[in-house]
Amino acid sequence: MNNVSVFPGNAAGFAVEMDGLTRRFGDFTAVQGITLRIPKGHLYGFLGLNGAGKTTTIRMLTTLLPPTSGTAKLWGHNVADDPLAVRRLIGLVSDETSESQSGWTAREYLLYFARIRHLPDPRAHVEKLLEDVGLDPSFRGKLIGTYSTGMKRRVEIARALMGQPKVLFLDEPTRGLDLPAKREMWNLLRRLAIDENVTTFLSSHDSHEIRSLCNEISVISKGRLVYTGATRDLGNDLDSFEENLIALLTQPVPNSV
């Protein structure tokens, strides 16, 4: 296992490319030298303990945080040099944004983003998205603050899907969703990957979800990649997968920071 992980395929086929991606906060290094390439149209799992560097990596890839060193490209666009081009390609569901506008309705919230993205017929687009994520029409005009956790999640996912993104970054996307909704979401992500070649970068603590959705995964520990490979290589069943995963996550990391 090392910090350089490349999937088969030519350069034109990569949705995400990281090369020595590093982020420091003062003396603390949150992410160190990650090199990884993810082909287009893949559902890709990204696992790690809390504080391992998953969120920092996602924030760098989504242009929220500039890398200290190294490069990251999405569909060939450098996140540091061409952030607007990158933002046109991505959708993000972060763990922390669902409570941000509790005084808005779902329609207002999504219309805001539809309009600033200059989408044609924004109202119809918003209704279609809300239909896709399964938000009951009777709730669409009510304040987000009155929604259940699952409903808030659906609104966030609808926002991330706005503008037909090429790469989706999802941080615990199904947390709080009930089982049917979770299944619907998985099916939606699979459909997006197959039909529209959407790449999904999925960060989750749900082993079952990762195993169900992702053929390839990376595991990050203390800012470094400690595993990149096929999901099935970590175990044929959920128990062995989790045992191997825990072993990876708790093993000492050489030159850890």
């Binding site: 906060f25 924030r59 989504t62 242009t63 929220l64 945080l65 500039p66 607007l84 933002r87 046109r88 991505i90 959708g91 993000l92 972060s94 922390e96 944004t97 409570e99 941000s100 506008q101 005084g103 808005w104 309705t105 207002e108 805001y112 983003f113 309009r115 600033i116 993205r117 200059h118 005009g141 009510k142 304040l143 926002r159 706005m162 503008g163």
Partner: protein, 480 residues
């Protein structure tokens, strides 16, 4: 396709009023201002409502701007915005435009009440200065507030709003402090210089007016430059911090950038304190046509009551109708003027001669038969518990004479909605058993108001708050 900045501006403006209590808050503030306008017409509208509405409330845009700039970054909304194809420069410009729009809306909200006022009174100098002072103060507070909001990048809105509130209090306190210090000749002391840190004080000096004192700086060039440094320095620094020294989520400033930021903040804070003009050697222009005479709560010897009405138990003040309704401006008002003659009711009063002289536009007339009476008709007033006027020999009267003169008062050209006209009453009379003629001399005031103005002010001040409450109700109905 619409310009991105125009779309962002429109969406951010709508978003601002989607807050749970945004419309209600705006309505309450405007209703309070309307109520104050109505109440202030009972005193000096310019000195009461004017200072509050045109000077102090605009200062409150300091914490508003800080909160509006900081909140999207404290509740992580920026993560959603800046993972959409939005240029940070455009978003910042849209935010500034939203703040300027809110400021303009506040300024416009003051107009209905102001139009009522100017219709009746015209535009006195103080109001003219207020109309320039307010946009300047709003601009300065938005610039400084935005800078504070952008300096605090983090997960709590309390830090920027708390800082802005502290600065707001200082700015408010510096206004009377500067006037008091200047009136005492201490405008150029160290503390006098510090008061110039308030943009409201700077702009007041630059515009050449005062709220209560008679001296202003005769030179204003450095004051104007200082004001420009504060306003445009804050705006430019805010933009530089947001675009160059910070990322979406956190500071990304290099060491040289930190030095630049520190020095810039220090310069903006100290420039007006050091360089603004503090030589108060000019004479402040008169705020309005108001007379210089002032009527306090002094005891008086006369009263103005409705025709035939008895004298009040609590009589009397130097303001003749202080406990009776105001007389109406620009109309003839029939009243009875009651003179409390300090004469024992056991003695006769004869040969009464009186003159009335109104000032500052008050015409006071009475029948000559009332002003010249050989044997006047008198009423008595009794004083219980030894509370009567003290006589030269030391004893207090238990009953004295009151002389009633029917008068007609016509107040013209009021200089405010509610004013006090001066009225000079002089009289001589003889008292039985006393060879010396007695005299009565009273420099009094008569309170007058413009009829209907108060109701008009209340209606004018109530239109926009009602619109705000209606908007809040509609939104509540729509989203519940």
């Amino acid at each position: 396709m619409a310009l991105p900045i125009a779309t962002l501006y429109a969406e951010e403006l709508k978003a601002t009023m989607r807050g749970r209590f945004a419309w209600i808050g705006a309505g309450v503030v405007l209703l309070a201002m309307g109520g104050l306008a109505t109440l202030s017409t009972q005193g000096g509208w310019l000195q009461g409502y004017g200072i509050l509405a045109y000077g102090l409330v605009p200062l409150a845009f300091l914490p508003i701007a800080a909160g509006l700039m900081a909140s999207p970054r404290t509740n992580r909304f920026v993560e959603c915005i800046f993972t959409a194809p939005v240029n940070r420069r455009d978003w910042l410009a849209a935010k500034f435009l939203v703040l300027f729009t809110l400021a303009a809306a506040y300024y416009i909200a003051l107009l209905p009440a102001m139009f009522v006022y100017t219709t009746h009174v015209g535009v006195p100098l103080l109001l003219h200065k207020y109309l320039l002072w307010t946009p300047g103060v709003l601009l300065a507070e938005i610039a400084i507030g935005s800078l504070i909001g952008l300096l605090f990048i983090g997960r709590s809105v309390m830090a920027p709003i708390g800082t802005a509130m502290g600065l707001l209090l200082a700015y408010v306190v510096f206004i009377p402090m500067q006037e008091v210090m200047t009136s005492q000749g201490n405008g150029a002391t160290r503390t006098g210089h510090i008061t110039l840190a308030s943009p409201a004080v700077l702009l007041k000096n630059a515009l050449g007016f005062t709220l209560g004192i008679r001296t202003i700086p005769s030179h204003t060039r450095m004051t104007w430059i200082s004001f420009a440094v504060v306003v445009f320095g804050s705006l430019l620094l805010a933009a530089w911090v947001f675009l160059q020294a910070q990322g979406v989520e956190t500071w990304e400033a290099t060491r040289p950038q930190r030095w630049i930021l520190g020095l810039a903040l220090l310069s903006i804070a100290l420039f007006p304190v050091i360089f603004a003009e503090t030589t108060y050697d000019g004479i402040a222009p008169a705020q309005s046509r108001a007379p210089q005479s002032r009527f306090g709560a002094r005891h008086g010897e006369a009263a103005l009551v409705r025709s035939g009405a008895p004298i009040s138990r609590r009589c009397c003040s130097v303001i003749l109708n202080w406990d009776h309704p105001d007389i109406l401006a620009n109309r003839s008002n029939r009243r009875d003027l009651l003179l409390l003659l300090p004469v024992d009711a056991a003695k006769a009063v004869t040969n009464f001669h009186a003159t009335l002289e109104g000032g500052e536009g008050l015409e006071a007339t009475a029948d000559s038969s009332s002003l010249q009476q050989a044997a006047p008709t008198l009423e008595t007033r009794t004083y219980p518990n030894d509370s009567g006027p003290e006589m030269p020999d030391g004893h207090r009267l238990t009953a004295s004479w009151v002389l009633r003169i029917p008068v007609t008062l016509l107040p013209r050209n009021p200089w405010d909605l509610s004013v006090i006209y001066p009225l000079h009453i002089a009289a001589t009379y003889a008292v039985s058993g006393d060879p010396q003629p007695q005299s009565f001399d009273e420099h009094a005031g008569v309170r007058s108001r413009i009829g209907g103005a108060m109701v008009q002010m209340a209606l004018a001040g109530g239109i926009l708050p009602l619109c705000c409450f209606a908007a809040a109700f509609v939104r509540w109905r729509r989203t519940r």
